[in-house]
Amino acid sequence: MKPLSLLRHSFEHGVHPAHHKAQTEDLPIQRVPFVKDYVMPLGQHIGVPSRAVVVAGERVRRGQIIAEPGGFVSTALHSPVTGTIREVGNFRGADGRFAPAIAIEADPFATQQVDAGAAQDWESLSLEKFIEAVQMAGIVGLGGAAFPSHVKLSVPDGVRIRHLLVNGAECEPYLTNDHRLMVERPDALLDGAEIVRQKLGAEETIIGVESNKPDAIEIIRRHIQPGQPVRVVPLKVKYPQGAEKMMIKSVFGKEVPAGQLPRDVEVNVNNVGTIVAIADYFLRGLPLIERVLTVAGPGVTYPANLVVPLGTPVREVVRFCGGLKGESREIIMGGPMMGRPIASLDVPVLKGCSGVLVFTEAETARRKEYPCISCGRCLEACPYFLNPSRLARLSRARMYDAMKAYHVFDCVECGCCTFACPSSIPIVQLIRTAKDDLTHRKEPEE
């Protein structure tokens, strides 16, 4: 640990992409009107897909459970809208594959009042009941990974959590949804953090915010009650400050070793969106049926921060924002560094979708690729201290098995190496290809 890095609240390596946040950072969150068709994929979180508990033709109310958890690492799904189940079948998801999903047709005459339970007396809930409630509320990590939150909150016996770290870094360029949430709903954020902190038995809540959001830092600080064990820590503006292991290093100066989790250094990290969702469920009875996302990029007519019911087709979200400009070329779900391009506008907004970004020819034209000149910039950029250059070369030679020795599975695909590469080598794509081959390759029989 270098004491200097702790003073600056930063980590080693990483890159400095342009923010591009000015487009939407001052725009208040708006609500997207209801549309006709919704598609809720059963596997929109990491882990086992949910199990549908409704059949075609059934009437559902907004907020009603439509799918149960399929296992422990799985969550419930709730109808984002009052209407009729059109079909339980296969629909195209964001990854281009067809996967089981529930299609719902909204009732145009319904009031769309949420079929929410009452606020819960969370203080008297036992830890097991609390974790079960989080699972049944369908809450997952809203930062982008969509990892079921109740799994993260289930701390094994003997492990002590001392700090709850709330991740408000939002280090991805263009995205401002977490920023707006912190500015507009600081009370919900602090209430949610208090619930999680007490349930985990942590001593202190630390809200980490990149210092390019001074208004968010100021507003949260103003709402902290006297005596509340909450601290807001401004962090250095650097990508990937919002990666949980990087943030722990920035705030505490501790490194989480490869293969270990934040709880091994007595920390639990949750995104601000997740914390607000927990507050909404326990204080207002609202399950996870909608999320905040940013629609931005040079190809969008009216960029915005929106509350979107889950399952809304991206087409409708973009239409609400005035549609695409003529020169639009690429649509990315998530941030520009880690998000994935979508091949169809019909794919629905998922729990893990933090943004819809539209880019034009100018940003997406593929730069000419040159051979690797062994300059080492990717090594200096990699926050996990891997050797991206070697990994890319091995992947290109299809020597996927050899990549395991170079810790390919420690790569989180943050994109720093590709960003830093002067030869425009698609390093992250090569690594993703190798990971896909290693996890899905069909072994020959015999």
Binding site: S344, T364, Q429, D437, P444
Partner: protein, 280 residues
């Protein structure tokens, strides 16, 4: 003068001693290797492809001599070579039916509908992890030649339509292409089986036709036209069961509106190339 001779004398003495030890060892510890293994190995193609299930040609030769495998399990050798080996070892040739790799997709660039343009590393698996490439069909050939690169026999080449053309002469039915394909589209099929389903879309009706002009829309006409029991529908695709039904005849393909079930004589996609079948 004397001292000059001592060193060579010692060296000669050591040489004689070790020579004697080696001579004794040769007499008492000799391992009899079957000379037939070397001879058999020389008759094998020496490509070490692994299609026979053994790590290479020499281990295959060892098992051949031991009688644990049959010469016919080598898919690379020609019929004459197999016969020669069988004669030499005085065993049954056990010639297996020739298998070739067939692609369960006929949707090339001219048939499968594009919904997006893929830019990025040129490889099927790379495209498959980015929203499944540009084709609307999520089950078909991506056309970026991972199989061509994986084939060690130069048997696969991409044709003008963006589909891998398998040279049935060169194909040895090793499973390399099948392992490389991220959509798992290659099947090892007997060359003599002419009836083949060239589609992998588990959708029915218009939903399938929307994705590709040569998609199987699960109409079931081929099932009705073929000998009873030969073809049945499974997961919205026809499955041909050569063991259960009667003789396979081209009748089954005549009424297929989308040309997704085909009668193959030799290589795939030949007819498609010449007639441009299924092009709208």
């Amino acid at each position: 003068m004397n001292s000059l001779l001592i060193a060579p004398a010692i060296m000669a003495g050591i040489g004689l001693l070790f020579g004697a030890i080696l001579a004794i060892a040769q007499r008492f510890l000799k391992v009899d290797e079957d000379p037939r293994i070397e001879a058999t190995n020389a008759m094998l193609p020496g490509t070490n492809c692994g299609a026979c299930g053994q790590p290479g040609c020499l281990p295959f030769a060892e098992k051949l001599v031991a009688g644990k495998v049959e010469p016919g399990q080598c898919t690379v050798s020609s019929d004459d070579d197999i016969e020669r080996i069988a004669e030499f070892l005085n065993v049954d040739a056990g010639r297996k039916e020739k298998l070739v790799a067939r692609l369960r997709c006929g949707g090339g660039a001219r048939q499968a509908h594009q919904i997006a343009e893929y830019q990025g590393f040129e490889g099927c698996r790379a495209a498959a992890v980015v929203s499944g490439g540009g084709k609307g069909c999520a089950w078909g050939c991506l056309g970026l030649a991972d199989c061509e690169a994986a084939c060690t026999f130069d048997a696969i080449h991409m044709n003008a339509n963006g589909l891998p053309q398998v040279d049935t002469e060169k194909c040895t039915a090793c499973p390399d292409c099948s392992a490389a394909c991220p959509r798992d589209l290659f099947e090892l099929v007997p060359l003599k089986q002419n009836l083949y389903v060239q589609c992998n879309i588990p959708l029915a009706g218009a939903a399938a036709r929307q994705l590709c002009s040569v998609a199987c829309d699960a109409c079931g006409k081929c099932v009705a036209d073929a000998a009873p029991g030969l073809i049945h529908m499974e997961n919205n695709l026809p499955v041909i069961d050569y063991s259960a039904g009667g003789p396979a005849r081209p009748d089954a393909v005549f009424r297929c509106a989308t040309h997704s079930i085909v009668w193959l004589e030799g290589e795939q996609f030949q007819e498609q190339e010449s007639r441009r079948a299924g092009v709208r």
